[in-house]
């Protein structure tokens, strides 16, 4: 081959990750949540049995029509898009009710959020037995103060998980049919159910454990314009099961970030070990996932310092790993991979699970592109899981000096890919673009900032963790 012929070619090391299977009821594996849930049912039922789903909607004929249609579809199913309804799929017998909100004002969001909460409490004699679905208008995602963030806040501090649905999505017939099953799935998860877990695990000896920590930071401007930080950590087990969320107890100044992050990670892992791991592992591998959007370069230095200090937790040897996950502007295609669209046209999308090493510690990981999906009859085919030109994630692995590592780079990349497999918001797309460990950072940063303001409004020594009731901490309330 001449130099001229290969001058536009980069020979780079890479890997093709296999699509991990998901486990459903009876340890039955499947590729797609739709196939697994319809054929086998969820992996684990919610511990607390909620008997009523109350759909709260503004008092208005248009909203009422949408709420009734949602109620009917959740109760009795919606053709092949949600076969059989909630009871058939999830095995929970639920009573669905509608409740009107008489003073709905999108711009007086505090008053309206209170209305939703008051109507819900009035309608439900025991709030632990009810689950609220709140119908409202869509508001801009980036809006810090909005009806959406306010209802999330008001219900959360009262220990109630919520599901918001928007008029804009559910009034559109096409979007309705694709959204009804994912809606039911999210309600099931927020009730504390586990629809599926991962079948494949990272390669480690049996007496060693992995905890994946999704780490986020929320910057808070205090009334005196001082800037403080609150950290939050989501802990997941190796099988993708979510365990808990932990906040740093108080807002910290920049100089104390390393202390705060160390203590936060330590507390989160401590809680996981104390509550769930029996017998205790010999070693624990803590893989910290964080998104570069929320953590700047100098904050990254603090994260490294914090990780180095994590030698032992509960007398168990700790090996920390730091994995930074970013969205990118790379686009790729593979002319050998036809990957046909629904209209039969080739897309040439790169296969999901393709990993390319760009530098020693920097990898391109395709979580969107051409993926394996399971048809309703169980056959496995390849098809695109995204429209247009999806972009891969950029994953960088921050190795720390003086630590004897056991998990190699590919295992760490797998930890990201596996967490992207834990997609509780879609039933047909087996892989989410972002891993569950970092996907909710933005929403959580908003809620965290709200909680911290409340902390300042109340007395000085309240631990932020105490502002969210324990019963809510047991469910994935923030998805």
């Amino acid at each position: 081959m001449s130099d001229e012929g290969i001058e536009n070619i980069l020979f780079l090391p890479g890997h093709r990750l296999e699509m991990p299977s998901l486990l459903f009821r009876g340890d039955n594996p499947a590729i797609t949540p739709y196939f697994g849930l319809v054929n086998y049912g969820p992996y684990e039922m919610p511990p607390l049995h909620r008997k009523n789903i109350i759909i709260l909607h503004p008092k208005n004929a248009e909203f009422e029509a949408i709420a009734s249609k949602v109620k009917e579809a959740l109760s009795n199913g919606y053709g092949r898009y949600f076969p059989g309804g909630f009871a058939d799929i999830f095995g929970i017998d639920i009573d669905f009710r509608l409740q009107e909100i008489d003073r709905y004002d999108l711009y007086s969001y505090k008053m309206t959020a209170k209305k939703y909460y008051n109507e819900f409490s009035r309608e439900c004699s025991n709030i632990d037995e009810c689950f609220p679905v709140l119908l409202m208008n869509k508001v801009p995602k980036g809006l810090y103060e909005s009806l959406y963030t306010e209802v999330k806040y008001v219900f959360s501090i009262n220990g109630i998980p919520t599901q918001v649905i928007t008029y804009e999505t559910f009034s559109d017939t096409m979007r309705f049919k694709w959204s009804i099953f994912p809606l039911a799935l999210q309600i099931f998860v927020k009730m504390g159910g586990v629809p599926f877990i991962l079948y494949n695990r990272l390669d480690l000896p049996k007496d060693e454990a992995v905890v994946i920590i999704g780490l986020g930071l929320s910057k808070i401007h205090l009334p005196n314009r001082e800037r403080r930080y609150v950290g939050f950590a989501l802990a997941f087990e190796a099988d993708g099961r979510w365990r808990l969320m932990k906040w740093s107890p108080q807002p910290y100044s920049r100089g104390k970030l390393a202390d705060m992050l160390r203590k936060l990670i330590q507390d989160a892992v401590d809680d996981v070990l104390r509550t769930y791991a029996v017998p205790k592992p010999k070693k624990i591998h803590i893989i910290i996932h964080y998104s570069g959007k929320n953590v700047s370069v100098w904050e990254e230095e603090y994260l490294k310092k914090a990780a180095i200090e994590l030698e032992y937790i509960q007398n168990i040897k700790v090996i920390p790993y730091i994995v930074k996950i970013q969205e990118s502007m790379y686009r790729t295609y593979d002319e050998e991979n036809l990957c046909l669209d629904t209209d039969g046209k080739p897309t040439y999308l790169t296969n999901v699970g393709t990993v390319i090493r760009l530098k020693d510690d920097l990898f391109m990981l395709n979580t969107t592109g051409c993926t394996l999906v399971q048809s309703t009859m169980g056959g496995i085919i390849q098809k695109p899981n995204a429209q247009g030109s999806p972009s891969p994630l950029i994953v960088s692995i921050k190795r720390l000096n003086g630590i004897e590592y056991k998990l190699d780079d590919v295992e760490l990349i797998k930890s990201v890919f596996y967490m992207a497999r834990m997609n509780y918001t879609s039933i047909n797309n087996p892989v989410s673009k972002l891993p569950m460990s970092t996907k909710y950072s933005k929403l959580l940063a908003y809620v965290t900032a709200r909680l911290s303001y409340r902390y300042y409004e109340e007395e000085e020594n309240i631990d932020i963790n105490s502002l969210i009731p324990d019963k809510l901490k047991k469910v994935l309330w923030f998805i």
């Binding site: 081959m1 001058e7 980069l10 890479g14 508001v139 980036g142 040439y348 790169t350």
Partner: protein, 321 residues
């Protein structure tokens, strides 16, 4: 064998080819991040082009590397070195040079620069010519834009630099409260009625070049009272912009203002759904048009010319790990 015959993954990376292996460059040694940032800031103010190197990396010492068109300004203790022309630090210097050249093109109305066109080590420039404008009020314009980064990827131990480029069709709006009021007045509505109609939407308010979400409380022909994070203040109506994203605001734009968005939506949808092969072909077309024809490239830095090869790279995965 031509590279088109080799199977692999095509990527939107374009090779930057230096005319010489080594570049003569000025260097100020420093290991302190804040000091390095200070030097970079000052040198840029003097019209030089500088790049930071935080820590030693691939044979390059920590400090500031820079080139100046004229004499180096007084007060800087520096040395002149000859370094690999594709070193890591050159990615910052080349990007900064591109930024200056693109600013010049914008001042000559050759290209259009969106708000926040340069941040986080990437720059975005757009075609001056619009693909389409909405009618009749021309409240929206769509343009093809190119987002650029310079990437350093060592290949078999040798430094190499690439331009990472991506094309996007972007929609720009002209939805200042001043413009909206002008349209509604032309439709014969009174200011009181306009105020009632406009209160039911979300806005973005600009204060000192920073955008804040805000709500409208009261307005007159020149100013409006708004709330930002529960605090009320008065701003000129040229500094308040309608947020067009909620469906009811879009309905307002189409039904009340009478703007036809169908044609631009259709173009955006078709172009936005392009698969990567077509998209990379479009990127090549736009690179030729905006960067090569308009002479952003070749870039001349010190004793080296950097040429851009407008051919996407192909990645062949070797030795599955």
């Amino acid at each position: 064998m031509s590279d088109s015959m080799i199977s692999g993954i095509t990527v939107n990376l374009f090779k930057l080819i230096p005319s010489k292996d080594r570049i003569d460059i000025n260097y100020i040694p420093s290991e302190e991040r804040s000091l390095i940032n200070d030097y970079v800031h000052k040198l840029d103010e003097y019209g030089c082009i500088s790049g930071p190197q935080y820590g030693d990396y691939l044979g390059l010492k920590s400090g500031v590397y820079f080139v100046c068109n004229n004499e180096v300004p007084e007060g800087f203790q520096y040395q002149t070195l000859s370094i690999d022309s594709s070193s890591y630090v050159m990615k910052y210097i080349i990007l900064k040079y591109m930024k200056r050249r693109i600013e010049e093109l914008a001042s000559e109305d050759e290209v259009f620069l969106p708000r926040k066109w340069s941040e986080y080590s990437q720059i975005t420039l757009c075609e001056n010519h619009a693909i389409k404008q909405s009618e009749p009020w021309k409240l929206f314009t769509i343009r093809e834009c190119l987002t650029l980064r310079v990437e350093h990827i060592p290949l078999e131990g040798k430094n190499a630099l690439f331009l990472l480029a991506d094309v996007k069709v972007r929609r720009f709006s002209n939805l200042s409260l001043a413009k909206i009021i002008e349209v509604l007045l032309q439709k014969g509505l009174s200011l009181d009625r306009i105020e009632d109609i406009l209160k039911n939407h979300f806005y973005r308010c600009v204060i000192n070049d920073h955008y804040h979400d805000c709500l409208l409380k009261h307005l007159n022909e020149k100013e409006a009272r708004v709330t930002i994070d529960d605090t009320e203040q008065t701003l000129p109506i040229t500094k308040i912009f309608l947020n067009p994203h909620p469906k009811f605001t879009r309905d307002f734009i189409e039904i009340v203002l009478g703007e036809n968005l169908g044609a631009i939506d259709k173009i955006r949808m078709v172009l936005g759904r392009q698969r990567p092969k077509k998209k990379i072909e479009n990127t090549v077309r736009l690179i030729n048009k905006l960067l090569i024809e308009k002479k952003v490239f070749p870039i001349i830095l010190s004793n080296v010319n950097y040429h851009l090869k407008a051919v996407p790279q192909k990645i062949v995965i070797i030795g599955e790990e």
